[in-house]
Structure formats: C-alpha cells, structure tokens
Symmetry: D3
Subunit: 256 residues, 6 copies
Amino acid sequence: MTSTASQQTITRADGRTPEQLREVRITRGWLDAAEGSVLVEFGNTRVLCAASFTAGVPRWRKGSGKGWVTAEYAMLPRATNTRGDRESVRGKIGGRTHEISRLIGRSLRAVVNVAALGENTIVLDCDVLQADGGTRTAAITGAYVALADAIAWGQREGHVKKGAVLTDSVAAVSVGIIDGTPMLDLPYSEDVRAETDMNVVTTGSGEFIEVQGTAEGAPFRRAELDSLLDLAVAGTADLARIQREALATEPAGYRA
Amino acid sequence: MTSTASQQTITRADGRTPEQLREVRITRGWLDAAEGSVLVEFGNTRVLCAASFTAGVPRWRKGSGKGWVTAEYAMLPRATNTRGDRESVRGKIGGRTHEISRLIGRSLRAVVNVAALGENTIVLDCDVLQADGGTRTAAITGAYVALADAIAWGQREGHVKKGAVLTDSVAAVSVGIIDGTPMLDLPYSEDVRAETDMNVVTTGSGEFIEVQGTAEGAPFRRAELDSLLDLAVAGTADLARIQREALATEPAGYRA
Amino acid sequence: MTSTASQQTITRADGRTPEQLREVRITRGWLDAAEGSVLVEFGNTRVLCAASFTAGVPRWRKGSGKGWVTAEYAMLPRATNTRGDRESVRGKIGGRTHEISRLIGRSLRAVVNVAALGENTIVLDCDVLQADGGTRTAAITGAYVALADAIAWGQREGHVKKGAVLTDSVAAVSVGIIDGTPMLDLPYSEDVRAETDMNVVTTGSGEFIEVQGTAEGAPFRRAELDSLLDLAVAGTADLARIQREALATEPAGYRA
Amino acid sequence: MTSTASQQTITRADGRTPEQLREVRITRGWLDAAEGSVLVEFGNTRVLCAASFTAGVPRWRKGSGKGWVTAEYAMLPRATNTRGDRESVRGKIGGRTHEISRLIGRSLRAVVNVAALGENTIVLDCDVLQADGGTRTAAITGAYVALADAIAWGQREGHVKKGAVLTDSVAAVSVGIIDGTPMLDLPYSEDVRAETDMNVVTTGSGEFIEVQGTAEGAPFRRAELDSLLDLAVAGTADLARIQREALATEPAGYRA
Amino acid sequence: MTSTASQQTITRADGRTPEQLREVRITRGWLDAAEGSVLVEFGNTRVLCAASFTAGVPRWRKGSGKGWVTAEYAMLPRATNTRGDRESVRGKIGGRTHEISRLIGRSLRAVVNVAALGENTIVLDCDVLQADGGTRTAAITGAYVALADAIAWGQREGHVKKGAVLTDSVAAVSVGIIDGTPMLDLPYSEDVRAETDMNVVTTGSGEFIEVQGTAEGAPFRRAELDSLLDLAVAGTADLARIQREALATEPAGYRA
Amino acid sequence: MTSTASQQTITRADGRTPEQLREVRITRGWLDAAEGSVLVEFGNTRVLCAASFTAGVPRWRKGSGKGWVTAEYAMLPRATNTRGDRESVRGKIGGRTHEISRLIGRSLRAVVNVAALGENTIVLDCDVLQADGGTRTAAITGAYVALADAIAWGQREGHVKKGAVLTDSVAAVSVGIIDGTPMLDLPYSEDVRAETDMNVVTTGSGEFIEVQGTAEGAPFRRAELDSLLDLAVAGTADLARIQREALATEPAGYRA
C-alpha cells in the first residue's frame, strides 16, 4: 500500500488512509462439499464464494473441447441495513443482480484457458452474507481463489489435465472520489457519498479486465479518472498478493 | 441427554448414541445490522437466522393492535452435495421451500403474544449455508433466539412495551427410525435411510406445537410413533436448555 | 362408527357426535375420458379426483423399471365462501397448494408397488369444486379410488401386468380439539374454531402414513395428541370400508 | 328446433339432425355459497359457472356510478381426452384461455345496464369440468343464468336497486360446415372435422353480440356464411327458451 | 374503391367517404437481414412485419414433411397516445396480444400449402410502431407480403422447392357502424365511437378466412352485419390489388 | 473528426478511417403522439427513442419537489441477423437488457436538474429496430434529443417552469481495439472481433459520465485504455455537434 505525502493527512472514518484497503480475509474451505469455497471479507463485507465443478458443458458448447465458467451473485435479504425482498419471492432477478453476475463471470473467464479446462463447467456462487460496500469486488477477489481450488480439485480427481488452466490471477477493487479526494475500497458509508464510483478488475500482472466508472453526482474529468485508475491498480496489486498468500497455505476451513 | 440402557449399545456413524443430539452451537449477533441474528449449527448443518424488526403491520392487520411474525426459509445453491438451481433464477419458489417457511412461521407464532408485540412486524430469514439434515429444525431452534433478540431490541428502542411478549420458548428436532431403531437428530446420511421421518416442534415446557411424521418406506405402527415422540420430547428439552444458556450470556457475535 | 358414552352427550352443529364422519359419498366414473375418476364428498366438501394414466415415466426414472404416481391439488376460485384469485392468473402456485399436492402424492405412493406398476405414470388431479373443510383428506380418500380404477384400466389394456400393484388402501381424515373435545372430520365452521388441528393418513390395515398436527391456538399435550390419534384411526377405518364398498360395485358414473 | 326437409335426411353420429342442439341442461344453485351458480351441460360438455357478487368496483371505475361484470374461463386438466398441463403450474395463461375469458365477459356486458347495477362487481368463473366441444358457448349460456341469479341476490340483499339490470338474455352456440353440410352445436368429434367453425352469440331477441367465424380448412363463401348464421340464430333462440324455463322454476340445486 | 351515391354525402373527419381506405403503403425490404420484411402503413398506423425463415420445424411436426407458419404481434410502449407498460416488464403477455398473434397466424396459414413449404418454419413478427386503429388488419395485410418474400427467398436459396407455396393472397380490414353508418378502415378516433366493430380477413379471390364482429354498444341486426360484410369485401379487394402491385415491383427498402 | 497521420492508412471494411463515426442521422418527431421522439441511426443501427412525459412521480419520490427520468431498452426479435425470442414470451427480461436500460437512465439523469424538472416523470423507450453494433450508444445519443424535446413540450404546456432543466447534453460511442488498432464506433462485424470493447458516455463539454471497458480477449494495458479514451472523447464531441444541429432545426418528422 503506497501512499503520497499529501494524502496521508486525510483520515477516513475507519482510520484508513485514502489509499488503504480495509482488512481483507480469505478463508478457504468454508464449505465441506464444494470443490472450492471461500469466505472473503473486505472489512464488514462478507461474501461466501462456492465453486461447483461438474464434468460436461452446456449443450451449445458440447464437442468444442472447451470448458465453461460462469457465476451467480445474490444477496441475502438481511445482508443490508434494511431488509430487501427475496428475488425468489418476487419471481424475478433484478437488473443489478444480473449485471454483477455477468461481471463476475466475465472477469473470471478472462484468466481461464478454457481449452486447458476441457469440457468441464465451474459455477461460482457468490452469496453476500453481509454487505458493507464493495460486494462485487470482494466477490470477484474471493471467487478467483475458489475457482483455483476447484480447478486443483478437478486435476487431483483426473477430470482436468495437469498444467496451467489459469493464465493469471484476477482481483477487483472499488475506488471513488469523496469530497474531492480519490479513495480506495469504499465501505457503504463512503459509497453513498462518492461523486464518482469506479470498479476496476485487473490481472495479477496489473493489466485491465474491466473498468466501470460512473459519475454519481457531477461528471468527472480525465485527470480524476487517471488518479482513480492509479489507486485501483495499486489496490488490486495488494489483493493479488493476499490471494497468493491464501493459496500458498493449507486451507484453514470453517472456524479457522 | 438421557439414554436408556438398551439403546446405548447402538453406535451411529458419527459416534452418537441413538438419543443424542449432534453438537449444537448458537452464535448470537452474527450480523451487524439485523435486530436479531443467529448462526445456528446442528453438527455440519449451518443456518443463518436474521430477524428484521419493522414498525407497522401488513395492511390486513392494521388497526388490530396486534403484531405479526413470519418467516422465509431458503437454501444457498451449494449448501448441498450437488449444486441446486437458485429459485430466483427458476422464477418460482419450490413446494418444499414454501412448506418449511410456513412451518417456521407457525411455530414461532405459537409462542408470541401478538397483542403484547403491538403493531410491529418481525420477519425471520432462515438461510441454509450448509445442509446436513435437519435444516428446518435447526432453523426453528435458531430463529427463536433471533426472535427473542429482536423483541428485546424493540423493547430497548421503545417500539414494544416492556413485559413478556414470548409466552414460552420453541425448539424443534427430527427423529426417525433407522434399521428399526428410533434415532434423534438425523444427519443427511441417516435421513435418506430412515423408514419413518418425523419433525417435532415443542415449547420449552414440553408441549407440542407441530408433529409431522411421514412414512418414507413402510407405514409405521402406533408403538413406533410413540417411541419417536418420546425421543423428540427429550431432544427438544435439551435444545430448550441450550437456547436458555445462549440467551443468558452476552452475544458473542461473529468470530466468536 | 363407534362412540363412547361420555362423548355422546355432545352434539355438533350438524347433529353429529364427536366421533362421527360426515356423510361420505364416492361416485366413480364421474368423467368419461379419465382412466379413473371419482367425485368424492365429505358433507358439503366436493372434490373431483381424476387419474390420468400414461405409458412411460419422467426422464429421471427411465430405465428403472419403476412407475411413478404424483398428484396436483387445486381449488376452483368460488369453491369457498369468498372468491379467491386463480393461481394461474397470479402466475404462481401458493404454498398451501404445493404442500397439499405433495402430501397427496406421498400418501398414494406409500401404497403403490412401483415395480409392479412398471414404467407407467399416473397423475391424480384433485380439484376442489366446493370446500367445506377437510379438502385434503377428502382428496386423498377419493384419489385412492381413482388410482385403483386407473391401475385396473392399465391392467385391462395390457400396460400393467396382472397382480397386486396396490399394497393396501389409503384414506385420510381430519381431527381437532374444539372447546376441549376431540372431534372427527371437521367442517369449515369447526375447523376455524379448533385449538389443535390434525390430519392423519392411514392404510386400510390401520398403520400410519402421515401424521400432521398443528397447534392453532395453545400448544397441545401428549394426552390430547393420543386421543386425536385414536379418533382418527377409527375414522379412517370407516373410510376404508366405504372405499371397499365403492370399489366392490359397478361404477355408477355421472348422474348416479 | 326447426328443420328443413332437405337436411332431415342427414343423421349425425349421435343421432341428431344437422339443426338440432344436443341435450341442454341448466342446473341452478349447484354451489352453496356463490351468489349465482349453474352447472350447464351441452351433451357431455359440462361447465360450472359461478357468479361472485361483491360490492364496489375496480379502482379505475370508482365514482362512475357504474358496475362491472367480468369473466374467467378455465379448463380442468383432465376435462379433455388427454391430460393438459395446469396453467397455474406453467405459470402463465394460454392465449386460448385469455381469448375465451374476454369473449364471455364482453358477451355478458352487452346485456347489462351497468348504471342500474350500480357500483358492484360480478365475476363469472366458468370452469370446464368435462369438454366435448362448445365449451365457450355453453359457458356463455350458463353464465347468463348465474349472472341473473347473482343480480337477483344483489337486489334481495339491497345492494342493487329494484328494476331491470339485464336488458335482454344472451346465449351462444357453435355452428360448422362438415362434409359440406352446415351443422349446429358441434361435439368434439365434429369440431375437429369442420371445414369452417363459427361461434355466434345473440340476445334473446335474436340480435348479434358476437360473430366469430374461422376457416379451418378452405376459405368459405358468403352463401355458406349466411346459412351458418341462419342455423345459429335458430339455435340460440332455442337456448334462450331453455334459459327462460330454467329461470322460471325454483333452483334445483346440486343433486337435482 | 367503389362508392354508392347515397353514402358519398357523408364525409369523415379525415375527408374520406365511408367506403374508402386510408392511404395504404407497403414498403418491402425495410430490414437488411430478415428474409422478408415490410413496413405497412394504414394512414398513421405503422406496423413492421419481419418474416424469419428457418430450416426445420417444431418437434411436434418433425417427419411430417410439412412446414409451419406462425406469428407474434406486439406493440411498442409508446405506439399509443398514452404509454403502455411493456409486456416483458410485466412478465406476461396480455390477452389481446395473444388473441391477435393467433389471428395473424391462422390467417396466413389459410393460404399456405404447408406440404409445398416442406419442413421449414416462417415466423412473422408484427411490431406496431405507431397505432391509429386497425393494427391487426394492417399486420395481416403486411405480413402476407413479408411471407411471400420469405418464401421466395427460401426458393432462391434452395430450401423450398419451386412452385406455388401460397394458394392465394390474404388481406384484412376493419369495418364498423358509426352513428348508424357502416364505415371502412377505422382510425382510432372512429374505432372508439363504433357501435359495432368487425374485422374481416379474406383471400385475394374474395372468400372469407375470418369474420369477427363484436357489438360494442347495442347488439346488431342481420342487415347491419350484411352491409358490413359488403363493405369489408370491397376493402380487402382493394388491399389485394395494393399487395399485388407491391410484389410486382422491385423492393424499395428503407428510405424508399 | 481529427485523425493522426499514422492511423489514416488503415481503412475499415466500410471505408472509414479508425477515428471516423458511421453516418449518424437524428430524425425528430418520428412518432405523432410522443412528447419527444427520435429515430436515431448510426449506420445500419436504427433505434426508435420515445420520450413519454407524465405529470407526477413514483410514490417513493412524492413530495420531494424533484422529477424522475428513467429508460427502458429493448430489441425487436428480428433486429438481429438471427431471430431472438421475445422477452415478453420468455416471461423475463434478460441481464443484458436490464443492464443497458439502467445505463441509459443513469446517463440521462446525469445531465438533468431534477429540481428544475419538478415532480414530473419522463420515460425514455429505446427500441432497437435494427441492430448493427453500438445500439446502446445510439440509444443514449438519440434519447438525449427526445428528452430535450419532451422537456420543451412540458415547458410549452406549463407543466415545467421555464429555465434550464438540462445542465449539459449527453452522447455515447463505442470504441475498441481491432488487430491492435483502436477504432471508433464499431459495427457488429468489428464488434465481434474486438479484443477490447469500451462504451464511453460524455457530456457535451467533454467530461465523463460512464466509462465501461471490457477485455474480450486478452487484458488491456493502460496505454491502450488511454488511446481508447482519446478516441471516444473525440467521437462524442462530434455526436454532441450533430445533436445540437438536430435540435437547432425544425423537427423533420416521419418521412423526412
């Protein structure tokens, strides 16, 4: 976590500097049955990422020799301050849910060599147990680790050939401008105040997979965009390191 | 956990005697925002119970002076050994989900003095994070504790008058006959083998709220029914004690 | 219909003793096309049960050599005092409907030898034309007779091998405690007043298939549960006799 | 039932002449609770028509001083030779169902003086218990009688002012050309063979409310259209007489 | 466009005589990709008709050697004066939409020799861009031309054998009685005032495919029905000529 | 349209230079009834944008004094090369549709002074009649003009106070990297080949409202991101000029 002299003087409500991540925890093996599973926490945001490995691919992909990776994102009704209706009860999935599910799936596929995966499917379920901002970026960051575990499982079980299936790692972080200052990894209380809100997904080697910036209040200038990108790239580099460390140790499992 | 001499000779796959509960844990305060929240575990079964308190009641109950308590049960897609489709994606709620949600709601309402609650609504969301049998009984047992916490919150905040809102506690357990032996609190591996399967909901004082017995294989005789009821009543007495102990201490919260 | 001396002094609004069934009628062959069809009446409750026989089984059961029996329950919008919305118009099936459909299916399957049925499917449609309490128990009782007729049709037509497909008969009845007295076969006016409500499904030989008891008001004691079970077992024995008599005669058909 | 000499020589499978209706029965009071109810039979076609009277009108009509009459048509799954899926299970209403519901509603409204009805709503539920052709025409014919009974109920109860609410009666019949011969009131076996199929709704005084003719095979000529209209007008005159007779007697009720 | 002396004295709001069509335009080739496409205009009513040709037929028709033609009708939300909700957003298709889609499909199939079409499917999408009365009749009239183009495409590409697939042309028009005068091709302002409203579909040779007449206010007499049919037949003859002329020239395409 | 010397040597399939827009047309007043309506064309992509003005706001915004602007995007089934299923028929809206509708709404709201709009709602319906890449960017660009017309209508009719409601204009364009070259405004044939795909929404004064970049093949580097942003900003400046010109002239209307 690098920081410039000028920004260090600003302290956030939770005591962080503008360019600092919240405490990030990645607990592998949180579920007993899933081929890969991670409880990822970005501060108070908690997302359970479960990777389900199944031999075979959807019909439209059969015979291609290529695998498929997809994701579904959802939020428990009381993950937020105020209870939300269940999408299963309303009978349809909201636009936001669809959008985030698609983003997670695209982000993961960007680092998967589908030919090396072979005709196997991995579904990543990212369920937000508690939401305090950055749920989609936490989900991507945790889902990558669960995906890596599920691929390793597939190789151990002989469903996937040995060799690299993942071409790189992938992590994501949110950035935003608050009272004129670009800040990294926004909790909910900052997110609602941000003038500009951006989610950035990068590879472990620092290249971009997704850049999604939105002016919440006033439009933003190119210089602001540039400083947000700088901040995000530094943040995802930190996350990539945390992912590597998590994967380097034995899975701790539930009640770690 | 009482046990008769004759049954002690049978040992189950997990080392329990037929009349023994699995390890039961009740972690209060697992969520930061919910007015009551409990992570309840019956062995490997883990259910997150969140109680949401809102002032006011549904339209059909307005002006009655009475409150309302309801519940929604759901299962994460990878709570089970094989991933299940999300009900939100399928666009409708399955019969089993409906049935269990209704059972939880009825069971809780049986111990709520709705007049004492006043025109307030408490929704209990019971989301199964991991399923290893007995998810509905764990949900009822945990939801009772979350409900008690939400009522206490309502009284602290002045939404509910001081005084008893709960007329008793409520807990539930499953029982079944396996290879001719009645057994308490079945994990999934036993549940699928049970000839008869029964879920029993009782009050803390040992009276019945619900009795649901189903012949899975052969029909069952009156004597078998009686022995299952005996076993269940002893089991829910144990659970009532565990609930009392959980409520008697300070909430441990997440990472307890 | 046996009755104890002590109970005889209580007379119900419709003149029955506590342990007496309402007038039960079973009219076979009410539909021209269905392989089995019964209009079953428990007093003013009228349920049309149609059994549809089709060769073949659902995909998940193909090649098993075993048949499948399932049921769908529904209520006409004006079966009740106040018109209810159609589930087809609301676009989803309610929890109660699901629950009862599942109960009927389970109850019938408990007496079907699916291997003897062979790879054939029988669907029981139980549509409530008029509801005056006990619709689910009337449905089970009538559906059994329609099922028996559909199996006989399958054997006559050569789809099913000769020999016993049904291992026993099945009938159901409701019981409840009203003003402290256990009573059999509750019409709507009694059902809404019952402190405890129980539906019991038994075989013709008096063993239990389902026991579902619910405390509507106060929790119930073991002694009450026992007396309700006694009453129900006597009631279903009566129903089993009425079923046997209906099956022993030529189908009367519509306008019997 | 008039008939011309030339046509009398043709006899239909069920023994009728081309211009003869099937046996038509109208049983009033088939349901205990509905404000009007009719079991109408055109041969083997049986439709249960229930009229539900409620004070008040839909929001868009409030304050207009005018009432509202609408209809919902549906078919039980086993009304037909082959079981059909329930629309509630499929989660949506088919085009045919919608179309017929709208036709019934329009036909009835054509004879209702909505100002005389006052701000009251009558819903006609027409549920086909058994289908053998002509279900929509039987439904209209029966629903008119149930509607008349529900209006009379509203007047007896003081919800509707005394005086004529119905400006005329309404009845409907199907006609079709089979092997070149125009025929009245087609059962299913004739309906599938008809080259042209027409449903005609008229008032008791013989004027047209709806004319719906469809070329099933070859297009039809003006002369054919004319002869079908002649046949239909004679048929609905017969039906109007049967309706008058049904309304002139005391309701027979169920088990008439 | 013929007109009788007596009617010429009545002039409509848009200057037409009662028996005159609005200006009708048929623009072929409005879309680049569709196998047939027509923008059809009846005055201000504009419907885009796209014919999609695909080899193969639905499963229930496979192996029959016969093709299939079907249609889907819809309206853009702001085709009308007041914005309507999207059916995709409401999650279900309205009765009117279903009814018109079915009418268009039936009308087109009446002139298709499905055996000559071979096992190919043509779907006609008729989307109303602007609605000013007569959208269904414009849709049928335009869809016929798009269908003819799609069949010609199928023959050029070798999917369909050379030779007549269409047995005749098909066109449709609305007629109605306004202030006692039968009028042809009603715009919205006349449609809402019509006492009787009729849609007539005929072949190019003047025979009937569909006749759908509805009394909007008072029931109509046989003489009125006859005069409406006369008017409609003359109108569809005009439309058949316009269709022939459109098909006789090179497609003009978009920005004609 | 600026261009660098090095890029001018590359010519695209349609003859454009990499930094050139397709031919853009904006036809105002394409619909008669809508308060604002535009047919916008980016080459062969044609989107009909209709702005519907209604007094009042959704319930959650009542009494705020602020207006509301929202958008719904959809595609006609045969807008594309291969016919797609209607979302109304499938009964649910796809993720892509939701995502684009939300993007359009957000983009427009970024330039609306909701307090100046007052408690009025404007819904923008963007229906793709023909899709050849860039449908969402064409929709935003056209919808802005329709929105401006609807606001002017609201002011002429006295629903909105005189004065600036729009704080700036808004336009959008797609950019992508194809064979290593950044290119502006991709048609479908280029879009499917792009390694990186970005949609950029800017104000007329050149500031950013949305930036959405996605690596379709390999991740992209910061330098590539920078050059895509340069290209997009130049493109939206061109579009802003075209919008100004369109709004400066009298609306041409349909058949311009």
